[in-house]
């Protein structure tokens, strides 16, 4: 039992290492992949500012920083197994005597480290240039919301990765479909839940199932509005519930998809 856990932790560490090391071998990625979100942030924040809403300008900066995570979940989590399948790595993962969940967990941790650097860069640059007022009253609240947002978000990433495992280039189209609508609905551009939301209650409820929605709202409250843990308990509960639901679900789906792939032949045969 303990030996098995150690073995799987080694796999998690190794997969994390590959992702982080690769990123730092080409650090220019950090810059290039931060530029586009920065442009969107500048555009949105300037628009809010000239229309007289200083707080919303700050909200846009946080939304832009979190955009990096959603892009990462789509392109380097959900569709990652497609790349692994093309190179032959997926076959090797399947036949390795290790839980495939460890591979996904390693991918997630590596992604979180890499993307946190990008997101921080976007936030600091945008906040500095746009002079966004940062008002952190309770660092613990920021930490809790940020951590739970990432665990829920990467839980969704692991689930999507499992679901995408058997698919080929079709995964790309799905990524395109999921990209902009999620930007819009999760509140990356403007708040989509709470009193600033333009959406009716039912839409607000549905968009709250996207981990980013409560995550971004919680971060805005704790970083811009200076709220503490007591005021964001709902956010913590929702993000915790999403984490607890999504990660085990990803595990189950991964096992199901692996068995389906072995049965149908779509796991390793690229012509299928």
């Amino acid at each position: 039992m303990f030996q098995n856990l150690r073995h799987n932790l080694k796999a998690v560490y190794a997969r994390t290492y590959v992702r982080v090391r690769s990123q730092f071998r080409e650090p220019e990625w950090v810059l290039t992949e931060s530029v586009i979100p920065l442009l969107i942030v500048f555009a949105a924040a300037t628009l809010y500012r000239v229309s007289g809403s200083e707080q919303l300008a700050g909200f846009a900066v946080l939304g832009g920083a979190m955009m990096a995570f959603w892009d990462n979940v789509l392109w380097l989590m959900a569709s990652q197994f497609y790349w692994e399948k093309e190179s032959g790595n997926l076959d090797l993962y399947i036949i390795a005597p290790v839980s495939k969940m460890s591979i996904l967990l390693g991918m997630s941790l590596g992604s979180i480290i890499n993307t946190s650097i990008r997101a921080l860069l976007i936030f600091l640059l945008a906040a500095f240039v746009l002079r966004v007022p940062v008002n952190i009253a309770d660092p613990l609240a920021v930490f809790l919301v940020f951590t739970l947002t990432l665990t829920a978000l990467y839980g969704l990433g692991m689930l999507m990765s499992s679901l995408y495992m058997l698919y080929g280039r079709g995964a790309y189209q799905l990524n395109d479909i999921l990209s902009e609508p999620i930007y819009l609905l999760s509140g990356l551009y403007f708040p989509t839940i709470g009193r600033y939301s333009p959406f009716p209650a039912i839409v607000q409820f549905l968009v709250s199932l996207i981990p980013l929605t409560f995550g971004i709202d919680g971060l805005r409250r704790t970083i811009i509005l200076g709220q503490g843990v007591e005021q964001i308990m709902l956010h913590i509960y929702v993000l915790l519930a999403l984490t607890v639901a999504l990660i085990p679900l990803a595990w189950r789906v991964l096992i199901f998809m692996e068995n389906l792939g072995r049965r149908e032949g779509r796991l390793s045969l690229r012509w299928m």
Partner: protein, 323 residues
């Protein structure tokens, strides 16, 4: 017993079409040898390897590796095996050869010291010393294939599956890979290699036993010498012929294998197995009556390649190590 299949079958269904990739395959592969799976493209070699490596489930029948059922006991098989596919380029381009090998060693749970020692040894044995700290993406195809082989050996598998390991390699690199594989098997009597190839000379040189697959079925099985006895007492007519049109039909009727074909001149170099030399007169007549010309005719002894042609039919044959 390293591997065994019992009435093994596999069907693929894809958008309404049904492909019988394997049918009623019965094989027993003993430990301590290189076992060859030979056959043309689409014969079912890779499908069989994918079933034995737990990547694919059989549709009918059963398959075992070290006595474990591939469908029900995959988790017991996986620590014992590894797979090297010549068509794939696994690994990550932005980390070094050494880092890639370390990464795969972690998937097998090796401790730090064991991993380091084994990787050092493999880097030496496989000839990666010059490039151990190079990024994988900067490596030539030959070095990548060596890295792939080293990766396949990192867990010291009991059964190593090699799926076309020398495909796309130049003659020198292919020879090195073949030597490495032979040396590895000799290093321990418990090691088994299951090798797929459509290079006959490769299989003949390396394998203790060979199964020839065609259209999903095993059409012959035995040692290379046993298989060669299928053409014992026969003779081969090696001919250079010019065929004006309808060349495939003429060659099919002769059950001839051609090794070279120059499309500019339409000249084929063919081999036809005959029971006695007198039959060549009929072959020459067959060709000339269809407007062709026989440019040269030489008598030769049957080779392993002729066995293969006899078993799977005529067509283009890749017989040498040049590919």
């Amino acid at each position: 017993m390293a591997a065994e299949t019992v009435n093994l079958g596999r069907v693929f269904r894809n958008r309404g079409s049904v492909v019988q990739a394997l049918e009623n395959v019965n094989l027993r592969i003993e430990t301590g040898q290189i076992y060859g799976l030979l056959g043309p493209n689409g014969a079912g070699k890779t499908t069989l390897v994918k079933i034995l490596t737990t990547l694919l489930l059989p549709t009918t029948g059963e398959a075992y590796v070290y006595g474990y059922n591939v469908a029900k006991e995959a988790s017991k098989i996986r620590p014992l095996i590894n797979l090297v596919s010549g068509a794939d380029t696994p690994g990550y381009g932005l980390i070094t050869v050494r880092e890639n090998l370390w990464f795969y060693s972690m998937l097998y749970g090796l401790d730090k010291e064991t991993a380091r020692e084994r990787i050092n040894r493999l880097i030496e044995e496989v000839g990666l010393k010059d490039v151990e700290n190079e990024l994988l993406r900067n490596l030539s195809t030959g070095y990548r294939q060596r890295m792939n082989l080293a990766r396949g050996l990192v867990n010291e598998p009991s059964v190593l599956f090699l799926d076309e390991p020398t495909i796309g390699l130049d003659a020198v690199s292919a020879r090195k890979i073949r030597k490495l594989i032979k040396d590895w098997v000799k290093g321990d009597s418990g090691r088994t290699v299951i090798l797929t190839s459509h290079y006959m000379a490769e299989v003949e040189e390396m394998c203790a036993r060979v199964a020839v697959l065609n259209k999903g079925r095993v059409v012959a099985e035995g040692t290379p010498a046993e298989l060669r006895s299928l053409v014992a007492g026969k003779t081969v007519a090696v001919m250079e012929v010019w065929l004006p049109t309808d060349a495939d039909r003429v060659l099919d009727m002769l059950e001839a294998a051609y090794k070279t074909h120059d499309p500019a001149t339409n000249i084929y170099r063919i081999r036809v197995v005959v029971n006695n030399w007198d039959e060549t007169a009929n072959i020459v007549e067959h060709i000339t009556s269809r407007g062709g010309k026989v440019l040269s005719l030489v008598k030769a002894m049957p080779s392993f390649e002729d066995v293969y042609v006899k078993l799977v039919g005529g067509g283009e044959v890749v017989s040498e190590f040049e590919a």
